[in-house]
Symmetry: C2
Subunit: 337 residues, 2 copies
DNA sequence: GTCCTGTCTGCAACCGGTTGCAAAGGAGGT
DNA sequence: ACCTCCTTTGCAACCGGTTGCAGACAGGAC
């Protein structure tokens, strides 16, 4: 025969012969309750498999303990972005550790009010997303409304949100150093938008590595693309680079997709990789390992990113402290360079 | 000057000069309220940007309008399962259309009680997950407790849950037919666990296609692996097949990972694909398109799967009707076959 | 014995909605 | 004019927790 299940706090209180308030305080570990009473009540609650009713708790405390992971136009699935998937796993694990639940949001692109709505309706306390997926207007609005959130991407200049970012300076540096070590000397770069924060950093690392061996960066060897550019755009960029600098012997692409596009373009032109031109990508998306030849790339630990996002956001929600942390970049050497 | 924001239903009621109950009914489109009053109240609510407090609503209605997507040991991220990612996007979109929110759950592997807890604490009304990721014991328990859920996978024999499954018979058939059309006659199969439902269906399609051209299935040409097997296990399976049937001219693998493993093994043995041996996979994971050579495979529409899961679960929650639907399989021809 | 103090517990209000039931108001029938 | 009936509205209870405040009780100091 199984123990009858107590559904409400009142049931527990009755069983323990105390009042609702005492029961509530005992379960919430309030210092107002004596240890013995506390233990007794808890034992009873455990025995009867009691679990608090979340809506009721949320109604009174005015906190939901839920964080929304924002998918602007479900970019992660459309772009089949394995890295963000990994991040998501980390966010989920990290949030559960911190005692939060994870809600998936897909605001319609014309919805300017989603954050306020989720906050005011008590469905979420804060948000996490990929900064690159968020439009500048949206970002401004979130900052102005004082919405609490944490992003994967460059830190907030106004300190308005928490952030976890990759060490792009170092990422650019190690990619370039590796190519230099292979003996490459005319290293081209297919970079993201010239003024983007990460791009500046990666370029900085690239130039620093070149300078360290006495080489100057040659503007002829650099192409910039918008993040939205695809493989074929990268292929065209390779064409332009080869035209300007037929002697290039390596390409450092700021994204694996572009690196894959470059690989295809080079293959088409009969240029051997890595013998004639070595290629390094960035991100280590799954496809990288299965490319032909398998892609050497700069990898960041997505799971770690997610956990850090969870932790910093939890901290921000509880203490109001926003933080910016940076995670290391690591070179994964395969066969393309 | 901006309109002051009305936070609670009582505010709206006061502004409209009616009672809370009338306001509530108007916003919920109750037939008890006259159209004119209804319109007036709604206009006021819209003007003041009113949104109901979800915890309060959930507390009284005892429904959360939240569905939990269950990630057993976060399989999707670990296995970098792009297909499930796509499904997830579809689930999210579909649920939002149906008026539900999506919560991500990661029950600890030793947690036998997660479903009851989420239901009883009013955090979710039902669940969605990948059947293959769920242990048989867990499944039994869920069925017995009468938990409402929908899965991607074979239908419930006891009709205890809703399901969306792929048309595996047809999938097996079209893969085999394609190989036959290419002229292959000794078609090997690397299948999933011999007694799994989908595996039986795919094998059925495979045999039917062979029979249609007057060929009998040769047991020597068949290997079975557990779903947990990886690329290298598939490579070994290829070895065994080649030993038993050196004349095989095609391989139909029940998963793209295995097909990729086969590709690697064949390359290593100096066997050309598709000239010597053609290879067809199953699932069309992203990596398939980037493999060398790009993999011909059987694809299912993950987004559609997700939307159907959302729809059937919503229906089940609202009407109690469980349904089983099947989606078509489609051959994606690339270069490996 | 009285008073004070500090520890523990209970009362009751409140969070913001929903809903059963009673009643108000107007239309129509006789 | 009166009664009935139907449509529309309001009252008040309830959902299941949390928390400010008052009070009970025990122990120690005088």
């Amino acid at each position: 025969m199984t123990v009858p299940r107590a559904k409400t706090l009142a049931d527990i209180a009755r069983l323990a012969g105390v009042s609702k308030s005492t029961a509530s305080r005992a379960l919430n570990d309030s210092p107002l309750i004596g240890v013995d009473t506390k233990d007794r009540i808890r034992a009873i609650a455990a025995e009867h498999g009691f679990a608090v009713n979340e809506p009721a708790r949320r109604l009174t405390t005015r906190r939901s303990n839920v964080v929304g992971l924002v998918m602007f136009d479900w970019g992660i699935a459309k772009r089949q972005d394995i890295f963000m998937l990994e991040v998501m796993g980390g966010v989920s694990a990290g949030l559960h550790e911190e005692g939060y639940e994870l809600l998936i949001l897909q605001p319609r692109f014309d919805d300017r009010d989603w954050a306020r709505r989720y906050l005011e309706t008590g469905q979420a306390d804060g948000f996490v997303f990929h900064l690159a997926q968020c439009s500048p207007e949206q970002l401004d609005r979130l900052e102005q409304e004082g919405v609490p959130f944490a992003v994967w991407g460059p830190a907030s200049p106004r300190n308005a949100y928490s952030s976890v970012s990759g060490d792009s300076v170092n990422g650019g540096r190690i990619a370039t150093e590796h190519l230099l070590e292979r003996g490459c000397r005319r290293i081209a770069m297919i970079g993201g938008p010239a003024r983007a924060h990460e791009v500046l950093e990666r370029s900085g690392g690239y130039e620093a590595a070149l300078a360290a061996v006495g080489l100057a960066a040659d503007p002829q060897l650099v192409e910039h693309l918008p993040w939205s550019a695809g493989d074929s755009d990268a292929g065209e960029a390779v064409g332009r680079l080869l035209e300007r600098a037929p002697d290039l012997d390596a390409i450092f692409a700021h994204s694996d997709r572009w690196a894959l596009g470059a690989l295809a373009e080079l293959r088409e032109r009969g240029i051997r990789v890595p013998d004639d031109v070595a290629v390094v990508g960035y991100d280590d998306i799954v496809t990288a390992a299965y490319a032909y030849p398998p892609l050497t790339t700069v990898r960041q630990d997505g799971d770690l990113v997610g956990r850090l996002l969870a932790r910093t956001l939890a901290q921000q929600l509880q203490t109001g402290v926003v933080s910016a942390v940076t995670i290391p970049a690591e070179l994964v050497v395969r066969e393309s360079a």
